[in-house]
């Protein structure tokens, strides 16, 4: 690998991640009871995480973990969507020979008559700087020597 190769990669990382999330205007299921969601979506930890998430906005009266276990939410139902799409057009035309916009369909859909459940696996950005840096990390393991 040469210094020139690294420069090429830097250019690539700035264009290779999707930007547009496309979600239906209307939910797939309106006012779904949270316990019902946990059952249908097979996610027993949902309520605990949702309670913790809501608590994080309660800056004046943040509950400790111990009290959080007994906390109740000020709502008991949610509007639920069964999927969304990414627009991958930020990749540029080189990846799509037809030059048409490419879409990535992602599902979180419980089982229904004639259709099995589908909960897709995804890559999540967990730090603020990973998209802007193109997921570039540093390492001291790699050295270049030339003469």
């Amino acid at each position: 690998m040469t210094i020139e190769d690294l420069d090429d990669e830097d250019e690539l990382t700035s264009i290779r991640f999707p930007i547009g999330v496309r979600l239906s205007k209307f939910p797939s299921r309106k006012n779904q009871n949270i316990k019902h969601i946990m059952d249908k979506h097979n996610c027993p930890g949902f309520l605990r995480n949702l309670t913790s998430f809501i608590n994080s906005f309660n800056q004046d009266n943040l509950l400790t973990n111990g009290r959080l276990r007994n906390a109740t939410l000020p709502f008991d139902s949610l509007d639920v969507f069964h999927g969304f799409r990414f627009s991958l057009d930020s990749l540029g035309n080189d990846i799509d020979e037809s030059n048409e916009e490419e879409l990535d369909n992602v599902k979180a859909k419980p089982r229904s008559p004639g259709s099995p459940a589908r909960f897709d696996t995804v890559v999540v950005m967990t730090s603020d700087n990973c998209e802007s840096t193109g997921l570039e990390g540093t390492s001291n393991d790699l050295y270049f020597v030339y003469y």
């Binding site: 949902f46 000020p74 709502f75 639920v80 099995p116 990390g137 790699l142 270049f144 020597v145």
Partner: protein, 135 residues
């Protein structure tokens, strides 16, 4: 002859990212306690509930250059580690290949293998997009 030594950056594509399983896509309600408006500090954007896989190792596995993806241990309350995140923080979908090195148990099917298998490989050959981004 002159030798010049450089210490430089290498690409760790997954720095600041984590693999997860998307369980619920939802929005917080605009009304609480029946009729009160919800706090303005609550996000109005769509949210997602994710169950995490373990963080990826720094490097891919030898021979096939695929990253190993494993399920974490359950928490003390018996639930898998998870988080509520903005839907917009999901970067892309990804395909996981089950680790077949110990055979194929009878309870692994297309619809159940993500539930019943604990070791996978991140498939960077699932699409041209994955090939360009998951390495």
């Amino acid at each position: 002859m002159i030798f010049i030594l450089f210490t430089t950056k290498i690409k760790i594509w997954h720095l600041g990212t984590r693999i997860g399983r998307l369980r619920v896509i939802f929005k917080l309600p605009e009304k609480i306690y029946g009729s009160w408006p919800s706090p303005s500090s609550w996000p109005s954007e769509p949210l997602a509930y994710i169950e995490w896989f373990d963080k990826l190792k720094k490097t891919a596995e030898p021979y096939h250059d695929l990253y190993l993806v494993t399920k974490p241990s359950l928490l003390a309350d018996g639930n898998p580690p998870g988080a509520i995140i903005p839907l917009s923080s999901i970067r892309q979908s990804c395909h996981l290949l089950p680790d077949f090195s110990n055979g194929v148990p009878s309870n692994w099917t297309t619809d159940t293998v993500l539930d019943n298998c604990r070791r996978f490989y991140l498939n960077s050959f699932s699409s041209k997009y994955a090939y360009q981004t998951l390495w």
